[in-house]
């Protein structure tokens, strides 16, 4: 009887451990069916926005961060769409083209506020968007008056001098 209760205790400990392991932070989600959406927001650089590497997330949007957004998209860093609702959509495909190859057509869309139509997929904490069509484009929001140039070295010294007419 004693041996039985000890074995039962061991099983209980094991079950408890298994329960802890299967807590939400370890649990995976199955891929969900897609949902048709129409989203309005800025085509943006997910790395700088999420990581804080350039400082405040807001400073990585609009004209202040435009050149850096083009660099990151050309470098194959995932392009995002920051929805008006604050949701970061990871854009996997834009009008039939993958977003890792730096295709000029979506480099051209960096920092622009667009209305996009497509399919959304939720998987393991990220929201992915396959953009089928850009419906409208409102252009780039002027954020440089608030944040300056992010990163400050984006415009080379010689180029600054040329723009200001010193060379």
């Amino acid at each position: 009887m004693k041996r039985l209760s000890i074995s039962a205790a061991a099983v209980a400990v094991f079950t408890l451990a298994l329960g802890l392991v299967l807590q939400p932070w370890n649990r995976t989600e199955a891929s969900t069916p897609s949902k048709r959406v129409s989203v309005t927001g800025e085509i943006m650089d997910t790395w700088c926005y999420v990581s804080g590497v350039m400082g405040a997330a807001e400073a990585t949007l609009g004209s202040a961060h435009h050149t850096c957004a083009i660099w990151c998209a050309a470098g194959g860093i995932p392009v995002g769409l920051l929805g008006d609702d604050g949701q970061v959509y990871m854009v996997l495909q834009l009008e039939g083209k993958g977003t890792a190859g730096g295709d000029p057509s979506f480099l051209d869309l960096q920092s622009e506020t667009v209305k996009a139509e497509g399919e959304v997929y939720e998987r393991d904490g990220l929201t992915y968007l396959v953009v089928e069509k850009i419906l409208t484009n409102e252009g780039i929001a002027a954020t440089h008056e608030d944040y300056g140039l992010i990163p400050p070295f984006a415009i080379p010294k010689a180029e600054k001098a040329r723009i200001q007419g010193a060379e």
């Binding site: 004693k2 041996r3 000890i6 205790a9 061991a10 209980a12 400990v13 094991f14 408890l16 451990a17 802890l20 392991v21 370890n26 995976t28 891929s31 897609s34 997910t46 790395w47 999420v50 990581s51 804080g52 004209s63 202040a64 435009h66 050149t67 083009i70 660099w71 990151c72 050309a74 470098g75 194959g76 860093i77 995932p78 970061v88 990871m90 996997l92 495909q93 993958g98 977003t99 890792a100 190859g101 730096g102 295709d103 480099l107 920092s111 997929y121 998987r123 393991d124 904490g125 990220l126 396959v130 780039i140 002027a142 440089h144 300056g148 140039l149 415009i155 600054k160 723009i163 200001q164």
Partner: protein
């Protein structure tokens, strides 16, 4: 009293409870002092994220055009957003040679709400030596040999980038906006 069953249970419990922590302790990733940063080793298959979600699966994980990630044995899918280089480079060039293969990756999981992964090291499963995830610049130079001949880092001489700046200016708002901004800001 036979304590073997209890001992076995406790050992199993501790092993299972701290499995994830042990994984973090093994990481050799360098800190970048990023938001929500957590050193993380992952083991799984290199996959095309779009293929995993939609079933649309071109050869060789899209051959560099698609975002890649790691699919672990427990079916958890992690997007690899960045490699180990500090030059605006993603992770696709580093992961693509391993498309469909089982790998270990070492790097940083980061972000507060949206969580992204930075790959710093990669190796095929079963190997002991890690390779640095820093192959973007070489892959870029091979893809754009004419641009690569120019001076400076890749992002200063990439003709896709320079064409846009030449057309729209550094702020994307036209050359007059650049001039007015610099007069005020400098």
């Amino acid at each position: 009293m036979d304590i073997k069953p209890i001992a076995t249970g406790v050992v199993l419990a501790i092993g299972l409870m701290f499995g994830g922590v042990a994984q973090a302790e093994e990481s050799k990733a360098k800190s970048w002092n990023l938001a929500g940063e957590q050193k993380t080793v992952l083991s799984g298959k290199v996959v095309d994220i779009l293929c995993e979600l939609t079933g649309d699966c071109p050869a060789n994980c899209g051959d560099g055009s698609r975002q890649l990630g790691i699919l672990e044995a427990n079916n958890r899918l992690t997007l690899a957003a960045k490699n180990g280089q500090a030059n605006f480079a993603g992770a696709v060039a580093d992961l693509l040679p391993y498309c469909g293969k089982q790998v270990d990756v070492d790097g940083l999981m980061l972000g507060e709400t949206t969580r992204l992964y930075q790959v710093q090291f990669i190796r095929e499963s079963g190997q002991t030596d890690w390779a640095k995830a820093n192959t973007f610049s070489k892959a870029w130079a091979a893809k754009f040999p004419d641009d690569a001949k120019k001076k400076g880092p890749w992002f200063r001489k990439d003709s896709r980038v320079t064409a846009l700046i030449e057309r729209d200016g550094w702020l994307g708002l036209g050359h007059q906006a650049d001039k007015e901004f610099l007069e005020w800001w400098e």
